[in-house]
Amino acid sequence: MNMKRLYRGGDIASEDSPKLKRADVLVEGGKIIRVAAGIKADAQTEVVDCTGRVLLPSLFDIHVHAREPGQEEKENIATCAEAAINGGVTGFVMMPNTAPAIDNAGVVRSVIASAGRTRIGPSIYTTGAITKGRKGEELAGIAGMKAAGAVMLTDDGFPVDNPQVLRRAMEYARDYDLPLASHCEVKELSGKGSMHEGSVSYSLGLQGIPAISEEICIARDIRIAEYTRVHLHIQHVTTARGMETIRRAKERGIRVTCEVAPHHLIFSHEDIGNYDSHYKMNPPLRTKEDNEALLQGLIDGFFDVIATDHAPHTEFEKNQSFADAPFGITGLETALPSLYDRFISKGRLGWNLIVKRYSAEPRRILKLDPVPVIEGGIAEFIVFNPKAASTFTRAFMKSKSINTPFLDKEVKGLVERVIYRGDELLAR
């Protein structure tokens, strides 16, 4: 649309500084044509009052389960896109643990085409599986998938059990310049566990997933990545020891990046209480000490990106015994408000950190340009109201699934507007 829109009086967040900059933002033709104080609006310009609001570049989530093809009862790419927009996310990367898996060019093309029919189509990307069917045995058609548009390889949901298979995959993938993302756990150590192995798993009488399962796999994958010189991206890190291993690798100059999920910052195994499967995910919620270590890691720049691991499941599936319910919670819609509510509003995290780790760096990992709110930049930003609240009712959420611990709960902060290439995709 060629309409001009003036976003007046808001506070602009950027990755460069924790300080917000009060300025007006003028948008036209998909671009930010001016950022300054006191911009005058002409008759053709729609004025949006942003007093008290924060304007920040829109978010990008590199770990999302859109469940298409084959699991559309939980979510599909279209509803996933709407859920993303609802949470201020205008770009994401889809995981390949679908049915069939995204393990060849044909499926890659099909999901990209499906993404193209959504409102943020150009910004939805897909991974491709490392192995056929994610079985961990034979390599998937890596070159074909890259040609069809895959941006990253992962068997997410599963680790690659066999180190030799992982090594060969890494050696091959390196030439196609595809980062390889690892879901790190040792299947045998995780066993049939459904939550962190510790004092709470003892008192609830549930089999636990020990921290060593993640720690050992992280160490292994990093060593193989170093050996094969591929870019390794460690997904959803939850253990302090795992962080230590990654930190040492980074210090040695190994090309490894890593992500942390908001729920691992906010919740611990103590929140599991009465067998509520809305607190069940893999890797599981760990201890309060781990929460703190992860938060510190985010603050001191250890974590490259925040990613939600948005994992929708139907109500029916989640309403089973804790041990039987599938792992995973949704996250696209709750991420920014919950991070605001728990950390930004309390001064523990600055807006610059959110912009850097949940908007700029995720794009950089995929060699995409970040979308800062600057003059001349592309108009892709969100208007966030710290003084309003978000209540995550069924009606409020756009995802097909409601498996979130924030269900029917109120959280400080509300995504009010989402601007994507100049168009307002959301205006509350």
Binding site: S199, S203, L204, G205, L206, N274, Q320, S321, A323
Partner: protein, 311 residues
């Protein structure tokens, strides 16, 4: 005492509630000496046992308890093959709701199922053992039995020996006994001792040290022989000689007047020898008798539709 709807675990009970249930079990036990062992308390109410794991003992204990309270008893036959996932449980619960059953006694091999059922029914749910999590009526009858021998439990010591990791009896009983002021120690092979335990539980890896601790009672747990999909110890023989109550150890118990408990049924030759079964200070039969009185007391206290069933 305010009634609750459900009894799911020991954790959610207040000290006052525990005292109430244990105190009321006394008149129920006295009832057994009458020729008419029945009271009309639950006349017209129905108790249904929903046992996904077989158990003749616990089930018949509940059935006797309920019938002595004049309740009607019925059993929901769950074919073990049809029950693989939790969704069958909730479908079953819907059926039971339609039948307007008052009390549902549940045993399931997965922790948390009674909690799930309780959330989805107005009936009173009693946990008769879920996975490794809890067995609250067992804990209550264990405490009741120990109190008959030691009216003041404070400072008395119990060693719980066996497969602690997979034992709901260990969890519930040790929690309740600690709340009543007793000192608890666990004795288990390393592979069956949970990694993280409450700080006030002492840990032993052998009988010598456990007996040096001077327990007043020893509580033997069943060895879960059925569950050895993963190997936790090399053989039954090795288990018995190192962690079972051998005749030599029984001799020491006898010399010191230490009491013996077991939730039943006993694996002869594994936890206990034949001689152990005849031990004069065994409380195993008392546990069974008291189980009925305690379960009557629980059924007397719970009320379908009441508030606050869940911790």
């Amino acid at each position: 005492m305010t009634p609750r709807k459900d009894l799911l675990d020991i954790q959610s009970l207040t000290d006052a509630e525990i005292e109430f249930v244990l105190a009321n079990a006394v008149p129920f036990k006295d009832l057994f000496r009458r020729s008419v062992k029945k009271v009309p308390t639950l006349k017209g109410r129905t108790m249904l046992t929903l046992f996904y794991e077989p158990s003749t003992r616990t089930r018949s204990s509940f059935e006797v308890a309920a019938s002595r309270l004049s309740a009607d008893i019925t059993h929901f036959d769950v074919e073990s093959s049809s029950v693989v996932k939790g969704e069958s449980v909730l479908d079953t619960v819907e059926t039971l709701e339609a039948m307007k059953v008052d009390y549902i006694v549940v045993r399931h091999k997965q922790s948390g199922i009674p909690n799930l059922i309780a959330k989805n029914t107005a009936a009173s749910v009693i946990n008769a053992g879920d996975g490794w999590h809890a067995h609250p009526t067992q804990a209550l009858l264990d405490a009741f039995t120990l109190r008959e021998v030691f009216p003041d439990l404070k400072g008395r010591r119990v060693v719980i020996a066996g497969d602690i990791q997979h034992s709901r009896v260990a969890r519930s009983t040790s929690l309740l006994l600690r709340r009543l002021g007793m000192k608890i120690a666990y004795l288990a092979p390393g592979s069956l001792m949970p990694r993280e335990l409450p700080k006030n539980i002492t840990q032993f890896s052998n009988w010598e040290d456990a007996l040096k601790w001077k327990p007043d009672a020893v509580y033997l747990l069943r060895v879960q022989m059925e569950r050895q999909a993963e190997q936790f110890f090399p053989s039954i023989g090795e288990y018995h000689s190192n962690y079972g109550l051998t005749d030599e150890r029984l001799k020491i118990l006898r010399e010191r007047g230490v009491y013996l408990m077991h939730p039943g049924p006993v694996n002869r030759g594994v936890e206990l020898t034949d001689a152990g079964m005849d031990y004069e200070r065994s409380l195993i039969n008392a546990q069974v008798e008291n189980g009925i009185a305690v379960r009557m007391s629980v059924l007397y206290w719970l009320r379908p539709g009441a508030q606050g069933g869940v911790s």
